[in-house]
Symmetry: C2
Subunit: 202 residues, 2 copies
DNA sequence: AAAAATACATACCGGTCGGTATGTGTATTA
DNA sequence: TAATACACATACCGACCGGTATGTATTTTT
Protein backbone atom coordinates (compact mmCIF):
# COMPACT_ATOMS: atom_id res chain seq x y z
CA UNK A 1 0.00 0.00 0.00
CA UNK A 2 1.63 3.17 -1.17
CA UNK A 3 -1.11 5.28 0.35
CA UNK A 4 -0.13 5.02 4.00
CA UNK A 5 0.70 8.40 5.36
CA UNK A 6 3.94 9.77 6.49
CA UNK A 7 4.16 11.99 9.54
CA UNK A 8 1.74 14.27 7.71
CA UNK A 9 3.87 16.51 5.53
CA UNK A 10 0.98 18.12 3.72
CA UNK A 11 -0.80 19.00 6.92
CA UNK A 12 2.42 20.38 8.36
CA UNK A 13 2.96 22.49 5.28
CA UNK A 14 -0.54 23.90 5.54
CA UNK A 15 -0.09 24.57 9.24
CA UNK A 16 2.99 26.58 8.41
CA UNK A 17 1.29 28.54 5.65
CA UNK A 18 -1.77 29.24 7.74
CA UNK A 19 0.27 30.37 10.72
CA UNK A 20 2.41 32.53 8.46
CA UNK A 21 -0.71 34.06 6.94
CA UNK A 22 -2.14 34.96 10.32
CA UNK A 23 1.07 36.56 11.50
CA UNK A 24 1.62 38.38 8.23
CA UNK A 25 -1.95 39.59 8.24
CA UNK A 26 -1.46 41.04 11.69
CA UNK A 27 2.02 42.51 11.50
CA UNK A 28 3.11 42.43 7.87
CA UNK A 29 5.60 40.27 6.06
CA UNK A 30 8.88 41.85 6.99
CA UNK A 31 8.26 42.47 10.70
CA UNK A 32 7.00 38.93 11.18
CA UNK A 33 9.73 36.67 12.51
CA UNK A 34 9.95 33.01 11.65
CA UNK A 35 9.98 32.25 15.35
CA UNK A 36 6.55 33.79 15.79
CA UNK A 37 5.19 31.76 12.91
CA UNK A 38 6.72 28.59 14.31
CA UNK A 39 5.41 29.27 17.79
CA UNK A 40 1.91 29.65 16.40
CA UNK A 41 2.22 26.51 14.29
CA UNK A 42 3.96 24.66 17.12
CA UNK A 43 6.80 23.60 14.87
CA UNK A 44 10.48 24.34 14.57
CA UNK A 45 12.79 25.72 11.95
CA UNK A 46 13.51 22.31 10.58
CA UNK A 47 9.98 22.20 9.29
CA UNK A 48 10.19 25.54 7.53
CA UNK A 49 13.44 24.88 5.75
CA UNK A 50 12.35 21.43 4.79
CA UNK A 51 9.21 22.65 3.04
CA UNK A 52 10.46 26.03 1.83
CA UNK A 53 13.67 27.50 0.53
CA UNK A 54 13.54 30.51 2.79
CA UNK A 55 11.18 33.02 4.36
CA UNK A 56 10.39 34.66 1.04
CA UNK A 57 9.45 31.34 -0.48
CA UNK A 58 7.08 30.77 2.41
CA UNK A 59 5.64 34.20 1.72
CA UNK A 60 5.02 33.25 -1.88
CA UNK A 61 3.16 30.16 -0.78
CA UNK A 62 1.07 32.25 1.59
CA UNK A 63 0.13 34.50 -1.28
CA UNK A 64 -0.58 31.74 -3.78
CA UNK A 65 -2.47 29.44 -1.46
CA UNK A 66 -4.21 31.81 0.94
CA UNK A 67 -4.29 35.46 -0.06
CA UNK A 68 -5.07 34.87 -3.73
CA UNK A 69 -8.01 32.56 -3.01
CA UNK A 70 -9.04 34.86 -0.17
CA UNK A 71 -9.47 37.81 -2.51
CA UNK A 72 -11.05 35.77 -5.26
CA UNK A 73 -13.53 34.18 -2.91
CA UNK A 74 -14.52 37.46 -1.33
CA UNK A 75 -14.49 39.96 -4.16
CA UNK A 76 -14.17 38.29 -7.54
CA UNK A 77 -16.19 35.10 -7.64
CA UNK A 78 -19.28 36.30 -5.75
CA UNK A 79 -19.69 39.24 -8.13
CA UNK A 80 -19.10 36.96 -11.08
CA UNK A 81 -21.69 34.49 -9.94
CA UNK A 82 -24.30 37.10 -9.11
CA UNK A 83 -27.13 37.71 -11.54
CA UNK A 84 -26.83 41.43 -10.87
CA UNK A 85 -23.10 42.12 -10.37
CA UNK A 86 -23.64 45.72 -9.30
CA UNK A 87 -26.14 44.68 -6.64
CA UNK A 88 -23.75 42.13 -5.21
CA UNK A 89 -20.88 44.61 -5.27
CA UNK A 90 -22.93 47.26 -3.49
CA UNK A 91 -24.03 44.75 -0.88
CA UNK A 92 -20.45 43.75 -0.16
CA UNK A 93 -19.26 47.33 0.05
CA UNK A 94 -22.08 48.12 2.45
CA UNK A 95 -21.06 45.16 4.57
CA UNK A 96 -17.54 46.48 5.16
CA UNK A 97 -18.40 48.75 8.12
CA UNK A 98 -20.24 45.87 9.74
CA UNK A 99 -17.04 43.96 10.22
CA UNK A 100 -15.55 43.64 13.67
CA UNK A 101 -13.13 46.29 14.81
CA UNK A 102 -10.33 43.79 14.80
CA UNK A 103 -11.11 42.67 11.29
CA UNK A 104 -11.21 46.26 10.10
CA UNK A 105 -7.91 47.02 11.77
CA UNK A 106 -6.30 44.05 10.06
CA UNK A 107 -7.36 45.26 6.66
CA UNK A 108 -7.15 43.51 3.33
CA UNK A 109 -4.14 41.16 3.23
CA UNK A 110 -3.62 41.91 -0.44
CA UNK A 111 -3.63 45.64 0.10
CA UNK A 112 -1.33 45.34 3.09
CA UNK A 113 1.13 43.31 1.10
CA UNK A 114 1.01 45.63 -1.88
CA UNK A 115 1.89 48.64 0.16
CA UNK A 116 4.59 46.83 2.09
CA UNK A 117 6.58 44.69 -0.29
CA UNK A 118 5.89 45.94 -3.79
CA UNK A 119 9.18 47.76 -3.69
CA UNK A 120 11.25 44.77 -2.69
CA UNK A 121 11.61 42.23 -5.45
CA UNK A 122 9.61 41.07 -8.41
CA UNK A 123 8.33 37.84 -6.87
CA UNK A 124 5.60 39.50 -4.86
CA UNK A 125 5.05 42.26 -7.39
CA UNK A 126 4.29 39.86 -10.21
CA UNK A 127 1.88 37.91 -8.07
CA UNK A 128 0.04 41.00 -6.89
CA UNK A 129 -0.15 42.47 -10.36
CA UNK A 130 -1.46 39.19 -11.67
CA UNK A 131 -4.20 39.05 -9.09
CA UNK A 132 -5.13 42.70 -9.52
CA UNK A 133 -5.26 42.21 -13.25
CA UNK A 134 -7.43 39.13 -13.00
CA UNK A 135 -9.70 41.04 -10.67
CA UNK A 136 -10.04 43.97 -13.06
CA UNK A 137 -10.58 41.74 -16.06
CA UNK A 138 -13.26 39.73 -14.34
CA UNK A 139 -15.05 42.76 -12.97
CA UNK A 140 -14.93 44.44 -16.38
CA UNK A 141 -16.47 41.35 -17.93
CA UNK A 142 -19.17 41.29 -15.29
CA UNK A 143 -19.93 44.95 -15.87
CA UNK A 144 -20.21 44.25 -19.57
CA UNK A 145 -22.58 41.43 -18.80
CA UNK A 146 -24.55 43.83 -16.65
CA UNK A 147 -24.80 46.17 -19.59
CA UNK A 148 -26.20 43.38 -21.76
CA UNK A 149 -28.67 42.53 -19.03
CA UNK A 150 -29.68 46.15 -18.64
CA UNK A 151 -28.60 46.59 -15.04
CA UNK A 152 -25.54 48.70 -15.86
CA UNK A 153 -25.62 51.94 -17.81
CA UNK A 154 -24.68 51.49 -21.46
CA UNK A 155 -22.22 54.40 -21.53
CA UNK A 156 -20.15 52.98 -18.68
CA UNK A 157 -16.66 51.99 -19.78
CA UNK A 158 -16.18 48.55 -18.27
CA UNK A 159 -12.39 48.37 -18.13
CA UNK A 160 -11.86 51.84 -16.72
CA UNK A 161 -14.71 51.52 -14.28
CA UNK A 162 -13.52 48.12 -13.10
CA UNK A 163 -9.99 49.43 -12.55
CA UNK A 164 -11.31 52.39 -10.59
CA UNK A 165 -13.58 50.24 -8.46
CA UNK A 166 -10.72 47.94 -7.55
CA UNK A 167 -8.54 50.88 -6.55
CA UNK A 168 -11.36 52.50 -4.60
CA UNK A 169 -12.03 49.26 -2.77
CA UNK A 170 -8.43 48.91 -1.69
CA UNK A 171 -8.51 52.54 -0.67
CA UNK A 172 -11.63 51.92 1.36
CA UNK A 173 -10.26 49.04 3.38
CA UNK A 174 -7.01 50.94 3.76
CA UNK A 175 -8.73 53.99 5.17
CA UNK A 176 -10.62 51.72 7.53
CA UNK A 177 -7.47 50.44 9.20
CA UNK A 178 -6.64 53.38 11.45
CA UNK A 179 -10.26 54.57 11.81
CA UNK A 180 -11.09 54.40 15.49
CA UNK A 181 -14.65 55.55 14.91
CA UNK A 182 -16.77 54.05 12.17
CA UNK A 183 -18.28 57.39 11.24
CA UNK A 184 -15.70 58.34 8.64
CA UNK A 185 -15.77 54.81 7.31
CA UNK A 186 -19.54 54.87 6.90
CA UNK A 187 -19.34 58.18 5.08
CA UNK A 188 -16.76 56.73 2.74
CA UNK A 189 -18.94 53.72 2.11
CA UNK A 190 -21.94 55.94 1.43
CA UNK A 191 -19.93 57.90 -1.09
CA UNK A 192 -18.78 54.66 -2.66
CA UNK A 193 -22.31 53.29 -2.85
CA UNK A 194 -23.51 56.54 -4.33
CA UNK A 195 -20.95 56.18 -7.07
CA UNK A 196 -21.85 52.57 -7.74
CA UNK A 197 -25.52 53.43 -7.96
CA UNK A 198 -24.71 56.14 -10.47
CA UNK A 199 -23.65 53.31 -12.76
CA UNK A 200 -27.26 52.16 -12.89
CA UNK A 201 -29.39 53.01 -15.90
CA UNK A 202 -31.65 56.03 -15.47
CA UNK B 1 25.21 88.13 21.88
CA UNK B 2 22.82 85.35 22.61
CA UNK B 3 22.18 84.78 18.93
CA UNK B 4 25.47 83.16 17.99
CA UNK B 5 24.90 79.66 16.85
CA UNK B 6 25.83 76.45 18.43
CA UNK B 7 27.06 73.55 16.36
CA UNK B 8 23.78 73.80 14.44
CA UNK B 9 21.27 71.77 16.42
CA UNK B 10 18.27 72.77 14.35
CA UNK B 11 19.97 71.91 11.08
CA UNK B 12 21.10 68.59 12.52
CA UNK B 13 17.59 67.82 13.65
CA UNK B 14 16.23 68.56 10.21
CA UNK B 15 18.93 66.47 8.58
CA UNK B 16 17.87 63.58 10.76
CA UNK B 17 14.19 64.01 10.01
CA UNK B 18 14.76 64.37 6.29
CA UNK B 19 17.00 61.32 6.13
CA UNK B 20 14.50 59.35 8.17
CA UNK B 21 11.71 60.42 5.85
CA UNK B 22 13.59 59.29 2.76
CA UNK B 23 14.42 55.91 4.24
CA UNK B 24 10.92 55.42 5.60
CA UNK B 25 9.43 56.44 2.30
CA UNK B 26 11.51 53.81 0.54
CA UNK B 27 11.36 50.89 2.95
CA UNK B 28 8.76 51.69 5.55
CA UNK B 29 9.07 52.64 9.18
CA UNK B 30 9.70 49.31 10.84
CA UNK B 31 12.19 47.84 8.38
CA UNK B 32 14.24 51.04 8.37
CA UNK B 33 17.18 50.80 10.73
CA UNK B 34 18.56 53.75 12.60
CA UNK B 35 21.95 52.96 11.13
CA UNK B 36 20.67 53.49 7.61
CA UNK B 37 19.15 56.82 8.58
CA UNK B 38 22.36 57.87 10.28
CA UNK B 39 24.48 56.84 7.33
CA UNK B 40 22.32 58.93 5.03
CA UNK B 41 22.42 61.90 7.38
CA UNK B 42 26.12 61.36 8.10
CA UNK B 43 25.56 61.44 11.81
CA UNK B 44 25.78 59.00 14.69
CA UNK B 45 23.46 57.64 17.30
CA UNK B 46 24.40 60.34 19.75
CA UNK B 47 22.59 62.81 17.53
CA UNK B 48 19.40 60.78 17.38
CA UNK B 49 19.07 60.16 21.06
CA UNK B 50 19.94 63.72 21.85
CA UNK B 51 17.16 65.14 19.72
CA UNK B 52 14.62 62.33 20.10
CA UNK B 53 13.52 59.95 22.80
CA UNK B 54 13.64 56.91 20.55
CA UNK B 55 12.98 55.74 17.02
CA UNK B 56 9.23 56.10 17.40
CA UNK B 57 9.61 59.69 18.54
CA UNK B 58 11.70 60.37 15.44
CA UNK B 59 8.93 58.79 13.41
CA UNK B 60 6.39 61.15 14.94
CA UNK B 61 8.56 64.11 13.98
CA UNK B 62 8.82 62.78 10.45
CA UNK B 63 5.06 62.62 10.25
CA UNK B 64 4.40 66.00 11.83
CA UNK B 65 7.07 67.94 10.02
CA UNK B 66 7.32 66.21 6.65
CA UNK B 67 4.47 63.86 5.77
CA UNK B 68 1.68 66.04 7.09
CA UNK B 69 2.83 69.14 5.20
CA UNK B 70 3.61 66.93 2.20
CA UNK B 71 0.00 65.78 1.94
CA UNK B 72 -1.46 69.18 2.70
CA UNK B 73 0.72 70.88 0.14
CA UNK B 74 -0.04 68.37 -2.57
CA UNK B 75 -3.68 67.48 -2.08
CA UNK B 76 -5.40 69.76 0.38
CA UNK B 77 -4.21 73.32 -0.07
CA UNK B 78 -4.07 73.41 -3.89
CA UNK B 79 -7.68 72.28 -4.15
CA UNK B 80 -8.69 74.72 -1.45
CA UNK B 81 -7.02 77.63 -3.20
CA UNK B 82 -8.39 76.77 -6.63
CA UNK B 83 -11.33 78.71 -7.98
CA UNK B 84 -12.76 75.47 -9.37
CA UNK B 85 -11.87 72.75 -6.86
CA UNK B 86 -13.09 69.93 -9.07
CA UNK B 87 -10.97 71.11 -11.97
CA UNK B 88 -7.87 71.25 -9.81
CA UNK B 89 -8.60 67.82 -8.36
CA UNK B 90 -9.09 66.30 -11.79
CA UNK B 91 -5.87 67.86 -13.02
CA UNK B 92 -3.93 66.42 -10.11
CA UNK B 93 -5.43 62.98 -10.52
CA UNK B 94 -4.58 63.06 -14.21
CA UNK B 95 -1.01 64.01 -13.33
CA UNK B 96 -0.44 60.88 -11.23
CA UNK B 97 0.50 58.56 -14.14
CA UNK B 98 2.95 61.17 -15.36
CA UNK B 99 5.12 60.70 -12.32
CA UNK B 100 8.41 58.90 -12.64
CA UNK B 101 8.45 55.15 -12.19
CA UNK B 102 10.46 55.52 -9.04
CA UNK B 103 8.06 58.05 -7.60
CA UNK B 104 5.12 55.80 -8.40
CA UNK B 105 6.82 52.83 -6.81
CA UNK B 106 7.44 54.81 -3.64
CA UNK B 107 3.79 55.68 -3.32
CA UNK B 108 2.13 58.09 -0.96
CA UNK B 109 4.02 58.27 2.34
CA UNK B 110 0.78 58.73 4.24
CA UNK B 111 -0.84 55.72 2.65
CA UNK B 112 2.27 53.62 3.21
CA UNK B 113 2.37 54.56 6.85
CA UNK B 114 -1.34 53.93 7.34
CA UNK B 115 -1.13 50.42 6.03
CA UNK B 116 2.02 49.64 7.95
CA UNK B 117 1.75 51.05 11.43
CA UNK B 118 -1.92 51.73 12.07
CA UNK B 119 -2.06 48.51 14.03
CA UNK B 120 0.84 49.32 16.32
CA UNK B 121 0.12 52.07 18.80
CA UNK B 122 -2.09 55.12 18.99
CA UNK B 123 0.63 57.66 18.34
CA UNK B 124 0.71 57.15 14.63
CA UNK B 125 -2.97 56.27 14.40
CA UNK B 126 -4.10 59.53 15.96
CA UNK B 127 -1.87 61.55 13.69
CA UNK B 128 -3.05 59.76 10.56
CA UNK B 129 -6.70 59.99 11.53
CA UNK B 130 -6.24 63.67 12.24
CA UNK B 131 -4.73 64.33 8.86
CA UNK B 132 -7.30 62.23 7.03
CA UNK B 133 -10.07 64.00 8.87
CA UNK B 134 -8.68 67.43 8.08
CA UNK B 135 -8.39 66.37 4.47
CA UNK B 136 -12.00 65.19 4.29
CA UNK B 137 -13.32 68.26 6.07
CA UNK B 138 -11.45 70.62 3.80
CA UNK B 139 -12.43 68.81 0.63
CA UNK B 140 -16.05 68.69 1.75
CA UNK B 141 -15.97 72.42 2.35
CA UNK B 142 -14.43 72.98 -1.06
CA UNK B 143 -17.09 70.84 -2.70
CA UNK B 144 -19.76 72.85 -0.93
CA UNK B 145 -18.13 75.99 -2.19
CA UNK B 146 -18.17 74.48 -5.67
CA UNK B 147 -21.89 73.90 -5.29
CA UNK B 148 -22.43 77.56 -4.40
CA UNK B 149 -20.35 78.56 -7.39
CA UNK B 150 -22.26 76.23 -9.65
CA UNK B 151 -19.34 74.03 -10.67
CA UNK B 152 -20.47 71.05 -8.57
CA UNK B 153 -23.82 69.32 -8.85
CA UNK B 154 -26.29 70.46 -6.20
CA UNK B 155 -27.35 66.94 -5.22
CA UNK B 156 -23.80 65.86 -4.37
CA UNK B 157 -23.33 65.09 -0.71
CA UNK B 158 -20.13 66.91 0.19
CA UNK B 159 -19.03 64.94 3.24
CA UNK B 160 -19.67 61.51 1.76
CA UNK B 161 -18.19 62.43 -1.58
CA UNK B 162 -15.11 63.93 0.03
CA UNK B 163 -14.57 60.83 2.16
CA UNK B 164 -14.90 58.60 -0.88
CA UNK B 165 -12.55 60.71 -2.97
CA UNK B 166 -9.89 60.58 -0.27
CA UNK B 167 -10.17 56.81 -0.03
CA UNK B 168 -10.15 56.40 -3.80
CA UNK B 169 -7.07 58.57 -4.06
CA UNK B 170 -5.18 56.49 -1.54
CA UNK B 171 -6.34 53.42 -3.37
CA UNK B 172 -5.11 54.86 -6.64
CA UNK B 173 -1.59 55.59 -5.46
CA UNK B 174 -1.55 52.24 -3.69
CA UNK B 175 -2.48 50.36 -6.83
CA UNK B 176 0.21 52.28 -8.66
CA UNK B 177 2.99 50.95 -6.46
CA UNK B 178 3.38 47.45 -7.90
CA UNK B 179 2.22 48.39 -11.42
CA UNK B 180 5.06 47.68 -13.76
CA UNK B 181 3.17 48.97 -16.78
CA UNK B 182 1.27 52.22 -16.64
CA UNK B 183 -1.65 50.83 -18.61
CA UNK B 184 -3.67 49.64 -15.64
CA UNK B 185 -2.83 52.82 -13.81
CA UNK B 186 -4.07 54.97 -16.66
CA UNK B 187 -7.29 53.00 -16.83
CA UNK B 188 -7.79 53.54 -13.12
CA UNK B 189 -7.16 57.23 -13.51
CA UNK B 190 -9.62 57.40 -16.40
CA UNK B 191 -12.25 55.73 -14.30
CA UNK B 192 -11.49 58.13 -11.47
CA UNK B 193 -11.71 61.15 -13.73
CA UNK B 194 -14.96 59.87 -15.16
CA UNK B 195 -16.37 59.72 -11.66
CA UNK B 196 -15.16 63.20 -10.79
CA UNK B 197 -16.64 64.62 -13.96
CA UNK B 198 -19.95 63.02 -13.09
CA UNK B 199 -20.02 65.42 -10.14
CA UNK B 200 -20.32 68.29 -12.57
CA UNK B 201 -23.72 69.88 -13.15
CA UNK B 202 -25.51 68.67 -16.25
C1' DA C 1 38.27 83.18 32.01
C1' DA C 2 36.17 79.58 34.59
C1' DA C 3 32.12 76.76 34.95
C1' DA C 4 28.26 74.69 33.18
C1' DA C 5 25.29 73.10 29.74
C1' DT C 6 24.78 71.62 25.15
C1' DA C 7 25.61 68.76 20.95
C1' DC C 8 27.17 65.46 19.44
C1' DA C 9 30.72 60.89 18.59
C1' DT C 10 32.29 56.36 20.11
C1' DA C 11 31.95 52.05 22.09
C1' DC C 12 29.22 48.61 23.62
C1' DC C 13 25.09 45.63 25.17
C1' DG C 14 21.32 42.11 25.07
C1' DG C 15 17.96 40.56 22.03
C1' DT C 16 16.23 39.08 17.68
C1' DC C 17 16.74 38.10 12.96
C1' DG C 18 17.13 34.67 8.81
C1' DG C 19 19.71 30.83 7.80
C1' DT C 20 22.62 26.43 8.40
C1' DA C 21 24.50 22.13 10.09
C1' DT C 22 23.43 18.20 12.15
C1' DG C 23 20.92 14.79 14.76
C1' DT C 24 16.98 11.52 15.03
C1' DG C 25 12.73 9.20 14.73
C1' DT C 26 9.50 7.70 11.15
C1' DA C 27 7.92 6.01 6.88
C1' DT C 28 8.90 3.98 2.40
C1' DT C 29 11.45 0.97 -0.48
C1' DA C 30 13.99 -3.24 -1.68
C1' DT D 1 13.81 -7.08 7.67
C1' DA D 2 17.51 -4.24 6.32
C1' DA D 3 18.54 -0.07 3.79
C1' DT D 4 17.14 4.31 2.43
C1' DA D 5 14.76 8.46 1.98
C1' DC D 6 11.91 11.58 4.29
C1' DA D 7 10.15 14.81 7.98
C1' DC D 8 11.12 17.03 11.12
C1' DA D 9 13.76 18.78 16.00
C1' DT D 10 17.85 20.82 18.12
C1' DA D 11 21.69 23.62 18.45
C1' DC D 12 24.12 27.18 16.77
C1' DC D 13 25.97 31.16 13.83
C1' DG D 14 26.96 35.98 12.15
C1' DA D 15 24.44 40.08 11.20
C1' DC D 16 21.64 43.54 12.59
C1' DC D 17 18.43 45.77 15.65
C1' DG D 18 17.11 49.64 19.17
C1' DG D 19 18.98 51.50 23.10
C1' DT D 20 22.56 52.99 26.70
C1' DA D 21 26.76 54.63 28.88
C1' DT D 22 30.29 57.48 28.41
C1' DG D 23 33.64 60.55 26.41
C1' DT D 24 34.62 65.11 24.34
C1' DA D 25 34.55 69.24 21.68
C1' DT D 26 31.81 73.28 21.36
C1' DT D 27 28.82 76.91 23.14
C1' DT D 28 26.66 79.47 26.47
C1' DT D 29 26.47 81.24 31.05
C1' DT D 30 28.49 83.34 35.10
Amino acid sequence: MTKTRRKAPDATRKRLIQAAFSEIHEKGFQPTGLDKILARAKLTKGAVYHHFKNKTDLGYAVFDEVIDPWVRGRWIEPIHEAADPLKELIARVKAVPKRSGKELALGCPLNNLILEVSGLESGFRDRMNGLLDAWRVQLAADLKRGQRDGCVRADVRPAETAAFVVAALEGLVGIAKPASDVKALKQTVNGFVGYLQSLRPA
